[in-house]
Subunit: 310 residues, 4 copies
């Protein structure tokens, strides 16, 4: 990720603009505001606005006239209670807005989360930059043999080199052909005055899915945690997980008590099925239980044993 | 609407808390922040938080690194363009949170707008205050004869007195019976130590629909304008329209350029059907057109003539 | 719940109308179609339309051209996999529409589920019937002492009689006053030709929250299960739980494999926090663990021990 | 669009399966059911399920026990009234499900409509087919000079040939490289047993945006009309407009009275701003009005004059 001088200057100007406000304000998040956190080779997330704090969740839960908070220990207890009992609406009272730069194939997964507001850079209207995601060698994983949507071992040696060469060359050529069809060079000058240039909304179809796009993405704290619980999970594709992890850092700065409860009850917790709970009870009662005498499939059995550390 | 000393003190404390922020800040809305704007006899709306300003809409439409704004005239032009062409997503980038006190029958209409976040005071958990909406005499309208969901002339004399007496007496008795069932008086003391008191979640069912409730209600600027276009409209019931009008004042303070465009293109504009447009064209061409030679129903014809001031 | 002759006749007519269709059809649900299932004293739910079946979930998960199903055991396995791993979108491909008659205070809880389509009987436009929810004596619970939003022991003797009398008398009087203000009797005749009658949209405010309303409510299978997981839960208020349980019966008829997976993984399962999982592991390892040596609060500890049957 | 023998056979089997149902059924839509309607060079839409009909809208608006319909002229009048006055919730009571095959860059626009249920073919899990959108020569438009997101004249001669060659060649090479990285040929056989093959979730990033994907897409009639009002509009990109037009055909077959009202009041109608309405009134009063004496911008003036046919 490299910012142009103009972009760096725009960000510095925003960061310098101190204003007085009566709104709830979080010093740790103010510190991060507008500043891009790098993700992948050219991507980033940056917080561009936020509304509310831990106390705003408490305030809404109590429908109070004032800040709603009492002692910090009481607030923490209430937030944990809300998280534990799935009282989700108070968490919807906080809102955050990100500017995200990300490869198109990641954007396609991300946009499936519908409870958010989005404004994406328009390739109908504007010309996309020549920036493509090329994985680090350590991320060049083979197809998993056991999991159709998972990764196996990392490719090595010549095969890795070959893949990286393909990705780089195809991206370069497709982008060059994009410019050729648009009849515009890097500086936005017409290449050949004798030609008209294809419409932007058509030329873009030649670009590969690893090209970077960007958007403003805004959501509330409850829906953000739902997004993070799915995308910061080990089953999520690496290329979106790294975005979720960077966002998790901003959540810890923004609403530390909520973030702690989220990590204790959601990220670090687990779901047991009726049959899995039954196995746990029988084990605790000292019974010998095997997969055959449980109601679990072999795969569920393995998952449960791994979870219980047996 | 009367605030208790504690409530007034809580609000003053919040209003006094000046903080530094790097976020977009609107002085005119800061001025209003936390302060209740009275609506009906005991209700209010008050802005308790907000995110973004006119420039934030522009910033999102441009997916820009900085504030995104240029000259104010350019911003105004872009906002009007977005409003005119129904490009609604940039307006979703601003968010506002209200604390609202309102009669339950108004709350039941209001909640039909689903794209918002809500936390309501819980009568399962807490005891509701003895506050009921009793209309001003000028609002005691008879049933309309022509419109099944409209109001006709104002009731006068004895009939008006009778209605107000009924509303006041039934509310008073139902509330007294609510307390009797709860076995709790105004100060929260047990009335009769020999009784248990009915569960709150049951006792509340005796309260009439004009009792006041309150909630935190948060939505984005696009969905707020959609709400206002329906609820600030002349066809909306008076008791919700007055809330919409108070909210419209806060929108004008918050995002003046957007509010102006909204009033020009949405509130003050109109929708013409294919057949109505055809009538307008024929009239402009100097043709005599009557309802019989149009494709309009008599009702649509009357509405069109009223709209055109003929 | 008592249907009028006209209503019974309307329902019979719909039930008699056999049509040919190429759509997925579920015999067990066709059997229930249009027929009201009684809930509470005057309420009901009835299925008025549906789209899809278990196979439609499989079909969407596979994005297939045909039915998408293979052997029933494979379909069952896939549905359980989707349920276990929170792949929720295929379940959104089935849709169901209910006609529900329910007390207003129940409707106010229900409507908080926003991901549904609703058309409610309008008391602005029409006059509500004289039907009120009066609890069975067995449901007249005292306020719980330990849980602010829960019920304790059942009221007995005179106190119960007193509560039922209040509920009945206040409902009767408020309804009589409603008619008085409307100036309309049970047959819809004008009571006093010398008076105008208050507008319906105003008169309704005198009605108590236990009056019955009705609506058409339509949602998809995923959101329905989310509703049921919250409202068929032991913590839900009894008066909404009985609706959820009746709906659960329709789900079992409609999508039996999905219903089974839902009951195994969601309704009958549980969520363990990070700290609770740690306690389980230590117990399984033979360690003595007490609340003091755990990271759980006393309340969480009690809940965990109850869950584990210790 | 070419179906494989297996796909054709799957569709025929579904079309042959006649079942009895008590649900609302629409013969004209049954006729279309499952059958793909071709769009673009390899795409299609096909209706795979539906719920409700014109009468179901009426039924929900009346919250009725039976079909809710009276004479067809009354139903038509009610549907037109609902459409005219933006009473949108009854239209949400009908639901339709499509299977759509479409280029990825079209899918990226389409998915921005959030109020729908979607299951997309997963390129993390499966391998995409070698099918790319290549425009008809008549669609090879130059960039518009006046509208940054519009099309100008059609490219001709050598320039058109050059563009088509680029699109075809880049697609072919990127797909060949995709297979090379996957180490799998057209038949799914391993190309080189000495190599592992890159994970599918990574290899897909090399594919260009004109590759076809497919999804199940389900929405309600109100949201479908909102989609169509934006995407069947002349300002929409041609490649999505043709999908909207094919869907419009299915709407006409499904709910003819609603479709007629939609075309009269929404598609064929227009929105006038406050200032435009003022110009119309002054013109009708016989006044000479020019852009300078109006409150319209030159662009709005031109649009208004075009609308009025002047």
């Amino acid at each position: 990720m490299l910012l142009s001088d103009q972009q760096r200057q725009d960000i510095e100007q925003l960061r310098g603009d101190g204003q007085q406000t009566r709104r709830a304000t979080v010093a740790a998040l103010e510190e991060m505001l507008y500043e891009p956190l790098p993700v992948l080779d050219h991507g980033f997330i940056r917080v561009v606005d936020y509304m509310g704090d831990d106390a705003a969740v408490v305030q809404a839960a109590r429908v109070s006239y004032g800040r709603g908070t009492r002692r910090i220990s009481e607030d923490r207890g209430l937030l944990r209670y809300l998280m534990r009992h799935r009282h989700t609406t108070p968490f919807e009272m906080c809102e955050i807005k990100y500017h995200v730069k990300l490869p198109v194939f990641v954007a396609r997964q991300w946009i499936r989360h519908r409870t958010a507001n989005v404004n994406e850079y328009s390739a109908r209207y504007s010309i996309l930059d020549r920036e493509f995601y090329i994985p680090e060698p350590a991320q060049l994983a083979a197809q998993s043999r056991s999991n159709r949507q998972g990764r196996g071992d990392v490719l090595e040696g010549e095969e890795a080199v070959r893949v990286l060469d393909i990705l780089r060359e195809d991206a370069a050529r497709n982008y060059a052909d994009y410019q050729e069809m648009l009849n515009e060079d890097d500086e936005g000058n017409v290449i050949d005055p004798g030609r008209a240039g294809l419409a932007r909304e058509l030329a873009r179809m030649n670009l590969p899915l690893n090209i970077y796009t960007q958007w403003y993405w805004k959501t509330d704290l409850h829906n953000l945690m739902h997004f993070l619980s799915l995308r910061a999970d080990a089953h999520a594709q690496y290329e979106i997980r790294v975005y979720a992890e960077a966002m998790m850092d901003t959540v810890r700065a923004w609403v530390p008590l909520t973030a702690e409860a989220f990590e204790d009850y959601r990220l670090g917790g687990c779901q047991l099925s009726r049959a899995a709970l039954d196995v746990v009870k029988r084990l605790l009662a000292g019974e010998e239980v095997a997969v055959e005498s449980s109601d679990l499939s072999p795969r569920e059995w393995r998952e449960l044993m791994a979870l219980l550390g047996r």
